[in-house]
């Protein structure tokens, strides 16, 4: 049972001090979670702390590789709409 940080992480440090198990560490190109230490915050917090503060959609994955903050969940810009906006901007 452990989460994973992937390359879309912007190294913002928000998650690191919050982890109850000191599982998160600074690394390049991006922060990492020590899978041996991460227990998904079970028993410590109702919500996984790193997932609750991470500002980047898709930067943290669960064990099945699914984003815990899926596209649109934080920005409110759902992917289809996002694509349309980009297209509109390019056309303008």
């Amino acid at each position: 049972m452990a989460f994973e940080i992937i390359e879309s992480c912007v190294n913002c440090w928000a998650c690191e001090p919050l982890c109850p198990n000191q599982a998160i560490y600074e690394a390049r190109p991006h922060f990492m979670i020590d899978a041996d230490k991460c227990n998904e915050c079970a028993g410590d917090f109702e919500e996984s702390q790193c997932v609750s503060i991470c500002p980047i959609e898709g930067a943290i994955l669960n064990e099945s590789g699914e984003p815990l903050n899926p596209p649109g969940s934080l920005t409110g810009i759902v992917p289809e709409k996002f694509a349309k906006l980009v297209a509109r901007q390019q056309a303008a």
């Binding site: 928000a14 934080l74 920005t75």
Partner: protein, 497 residues
Amino acid sequence: MELPVLNNVAPDASGCQSGSCGSTDDQMGHLPEHIREKVFNHPCYSEEAHHYFARMHVAVAPACNIQCHYCNRKYDCANESRPGVVSELHHPVQAVKKVLAVAATIPQMTVLGIAGPGDPLANPERTFETFRMLAEQAPDIKLCVSTNGLSLPDHIDELAKHNIDHVTITINCVDPDVGALIYPWIFWKNKRIKGREAAAILIEQQQKGLEMLVARGILVKVNSVLIPGVNDRHLAEVSRIVKAKGAFLHNVMPLISEAEHGTFYGMTGQRGPTAEELQALQDECSGDMNMMRHCRQCRADAVGMLGEDRGDEFTMEKIEAMDINYPEAMKMRAEIHAAINEELDAKRAAKHAKVHSIEEIRPKPATRPVLMAVATRGSGVINEHFGHAREFLIYEASASGVRFIGHRKTVAYCEGGDTCGDGMSALDKSIEVLSGCEVVLCSKIGFEPWGPLEKAGITPNGEHAMEPIEDAILAVYEEMLSNGKLDARPAEQQKVA
């Protein structure tokens, strides 16, 4: 990043109050003495001092506990003088070294701020360790901190301990329904909270923090980002409320929103205000409150005077090689500060005398106010070439004197490509930011921009190079008066049209 800066006097007010008059600097006249003392020679609050002193930021606080729609954590935040996470992040010990090196090299550096890259109070250990060391090692540097306010109430005691000169809170709204359009989520009590509920908590914490700081006698400045269609109609109320609670200054900044910043507002096409919209709002709020108009949204990790950046001289590598004897540097700094203050005092006295004489000779003519733009690199004189200017200082001349209105940024059209990326030429951009101005004063101007400027109703003027800004503006105003140019009212006609 202010004295003629503080405007709570209507543009047509004339005469002197409480021994101060003429320039907008003196509109601090109504502030309590202990606050005036604190802000008089402060580069962030005194437009005049701003030409002589400088401030710097250190990036020691990476984490943030809220999301704003105008922010993309990756990049420097254009709105809140906050560096992005790609900027060089400093450990407190490194940050202190850097500050001492800069202060010893640039004696004008008098204010040190912590503003990011995240929220300083979401990184309390790193922020307060930096303050603690600086208070000990460099007691001649003023300390300040900017925050979104969410965890402000938890840190009031610690802030009071470090003798913080002032705290800036970014308050964009006092209504959760407005807030829900600006803040998608906050991290609060170990949970992510979204929408209106999040905004309500943030607003409550900001207001509580403001009240607690004022109760402790700590100066509070409030920053607001003006977002057209979102909080533009709401900010006058914000101004009223924060003033009633004891904030001493309200700084309304324009939203900066470019698609390539990748922010929510950038992506969804939310526009920023025009220079005129910003000024109208500042005027609306200034009836209620001291407005700060010369803030140029300095880049939070920039080092130097007036928008210049000498950061390259102070990379960590170079700093490690420097041998700084700060106690010695402090003596040199004290001498330089005393000399600058003397110069400032002399200028103020001279201005005071001059305004009197102008009022005496002029029998209250019904002249209209005129906006003029100035290209300057500092020291309070006209010393920048039109084509090199990255910003213009805007002043209003009227029968009652000269008043500073604000900064408008542009792209130096002499530099680089001829476009600003959006197909607009740099000269067009300058003409656009100068809209409403009738004169632009600079040390020199080329032949090429002359015609387009005049066509846009802006008279270029290079006759006052190296002269003090306010003297030059008055001289031009008097000249316009004697040429009969102040009888016509082009500005108003335009408004009607």
